[in-house]
């Protein structure tokens, strides 16, 4: 997912509520420009979402001897109840919860520390450092997953010998998956934070220095509060991304039996839809994931506005 953090957007929204007041007559030209995207949005997002909601309320059942083919039966919330009661779904939620607990703090804190270090006056060769840490973002997720899978693999990779334990065992595979995601995203978020830090007014930083605040103090009391909205936007996108984690465990599944076919909720949906062929259950599970995503991002954003409105 591409994530940028245009944190000044709300301010711009106010100035643009009455845009271009002059050209009301030729409104249709604006509509013409917007139509291609509007069609795409309807056909590839809104209709599929509506279709998922519809599917989630039905199930396929064989009637009689099954000669007449499966029958579409309306089951109210039956699919949802089935998913909610399914221990495989619980396990997948547990996995992503743990994954998020490891990945989100390590990635965001790491990115923030690196951004603050780059922003401090003493660092030389800023470009080189930031490019080096950013490079993994340019690696496709599947390929990043494959590289790490081989590095983890006991026969080919060096990590087992280096660290003295098997990174693909029952207990270590989860942090190993989180590590792949952190490797991929830490540089990207570092750049986002670093870019946001450039907007911190230099006078304030210098005034703090003159008052005797050290680098750590300046970072904590001035720089971090200023870029807090950016941090929260990044947190929201990371939460959503973590819940939907799919590619990394899918890749590792080919290397170790410790990743099950329903390891994450997205894999659960994939398994239900394309292996078990149970569309109703798959649709219900994906609606549940979407709802959890929406609730969690609302919680993070609420937390963010409450803290910054003080």
């Amino acid at each position: 997912m591409s994530v940028l953090a245009p944190e000044r957007a709300p301010a711009q929204e106010q100035t643009s509520t009455e845009p271009a007041t002059r050209t009301r007559k030729k409104d249709f030209a604006g509509a013409v420009l917007a139509v291609p995207f509007a069609i795409l949005l309807v056909c590839t997002v809104l209709v599929p979402v509506a279709y998922t909601l519809y599917l989630s309320l039905f199930t396929e059942r064989l009637r009689g001897l099954g000669f007449s083919g499966p029958e579409h039966v309306f089951v109210w919330l039956g699919n949802y109840l089935e998913v909610i009661a399914d221990s495989a779904f619980h396990a997948s939620l547990g996995n992503v919860a743990l994954f998020a607990l490891i990945h989100i703090p390590s990635m965001l804190i790491g990115a923030l520390i690196l951004a603050l270090l780059l922003d401090s006056a003493v660092v030389r060769l800023k470009q080189v450092w930031s490019l080096a840490v950013f490079v993994p973002y340019a690696v496709p997720v599947v390929i990043g997953g494959l590289i790490w899978a081989y590095l983890y693999s006991p026969t080919i990779g060096p990590i087992k010998n280096l660290l003295g334990f098997d990174p693909l065992s029952d207990t270590t595979v989860l942090p190993s998956i989180a590590n792949i995601a952190t490797w991929q995203w830490v540089g990207y978020n570092m750049i986002i934070f670093y870019t946001a830090l450039q907007a911190v007014p230099k006078e304030i930083v210098e005034a703090a220095r003159a008052d005797g605040a050290g680098g750590f103090r300046t970072a904590w009391s001035i720089k971090i509060p200023v870029i807090r909205p950016t941090i929260f936007v990044a947190a929201v996108f990371t939460v959503i991304g973590s819940l939907q984690v799919f590619t990394e465990p899918m890749v590792l599944k080919g290397f170790t039996g410790t990743v099950t076919s329903t390891w994450s909720p997205s894999m659960y949906v994939y398994e239900a839809a394309f292996v078990a062929g149970d569309n109703g259950r798959a649709a219900a599970a994906s609606v549940l994931i979407a709802v959890i995503c929406a609730v969690l991002s609302a919680v993070v954003m609420r937390f963010s506005t409450r803290r910054s409105s003080r």
């Binding site: 711009q12 599917l55 060096p158």
Partner: protein
């Protein structure tokens, strides 16, 4: 963290650089491993260290890679370029037009469209994959180029960004002047506004390119014909065979290197360009 306060500076410059060095090694070593490993034959993996070169087998590996399954790797590379390149160019233009229209014109339904766009940002791909597959099979376009290409054009976040860029970089006075000169709105967009929004549009393009190049779920679900696979799906499929057929290991590793190289090079070359775009999007 090893910085203490004294004389209003980050005290230990070496410590700061050590942290940066560790971060850089963590980021780069897996790629170094990819380079050294793609020079190895299967046997070399057990006899050589992870980060040393083996006997120079790179060309043999590359030859084997392109020979495998009648040169299907060419198809995969070409498909990736078509999906990601074509999708990013067309998709970012569509985003720019829509973002501009929302920011600078006042067609009816503009607020509704923007609200739906913001909702679209938050819809997980997982939710879309199954209905997309079922709709595509209804339309009989499963296993075609278009079934993957068209959904990947949709980039709600790109529209949001394009709107921000249009607001920030296209002054109303310029549009007014163009109107006075008798330019129609469409012409104004293409000849006046679009060039002004260019750094922003390039950013949308780059990130959409990455997004499509990274997309895995949709091609996995919609494609079964290996000839239509993008490179990451193809390599993924080979990698699932490597437990039974270890000879796929050098192929997957060399293929990964060839798939990563153009992207990394593009990023380094376009460094300035995307940085400018990022700055325009997040700081302005």
């Amino acid at each position: 963290m090893s910085f203490a306060d004294s004389k209003s500076r980050w005290v230990s410059t070496p410590a700061v650089h050590v942290i940066l060095l560790v971060a850089a090694l963590y980021s780069l070593l897996p790629l170094v491993w990819l380079v050294t490993s793609s020079t190895k034959s299967l046997g070399d993996f057990s006899t050589t260290g992870a980060f040393e070169f083996g006997e120079w087998n790179l060309w043999a590996n590359v030859k084997a890679l392109f020979a495998q399954e009648n040169g299907i790797f060419w198809h995969w590379l070409l498909n990736s370029v078509l999906y990601a390149g074509g999708g990013a160019v067309l998709g970012s233009l569509i985003c720019a037009a829509c973002g501009y229209a929302i920011a600078k014109t006042s067609f009816p339904g503009r607020r509704l469209l923007f609200a739906l766009t913001l909702t679209g940002v938050l819809v997980p791909t997982t939710v879309l994959a199954l209905p997309m597959y079922l709709l595509a099979s209804e339309l009989r376009i499963v296993d075609t180029f278009w079934a993957v290409f068209v959904p990947l054009l949709t980039n709600p976040f790109g529209v949001y960004l394009a709107r921000v860029y249009a607001d920030a970089s296209v002054p109303d006075e310029v549009l007014e002047a163009a109107r006075v000169d008798g330019a129609g709105q469409l012409r104004t967009f293409f000849t006046v506004a679009l060039p002004m929004m260019r750094p922003g549009v390039v950013t949308v393009l780059l990130f959409q390119f990455i997004g499509i190049w990274n997309n895995f779920f949709l091609p996995l679900v919609l494609l079964t014909d290996p000839k239509l696979f993008p490179v990451s799906l193809g390599l993924f499929q080979w990698s699932t065979r490597q437990t039974q057929f270890p000879q796929y290991t050098p192929l997957v590793i060399t293929g990964s290197l060839l798939a990563v190289l153009p992207l990394v090079v593009a990023f380094l070359v376009l460094n300035r360009q995307w940085r400018k775009g990022l700055a325009a999007g997040s700081v302005k």
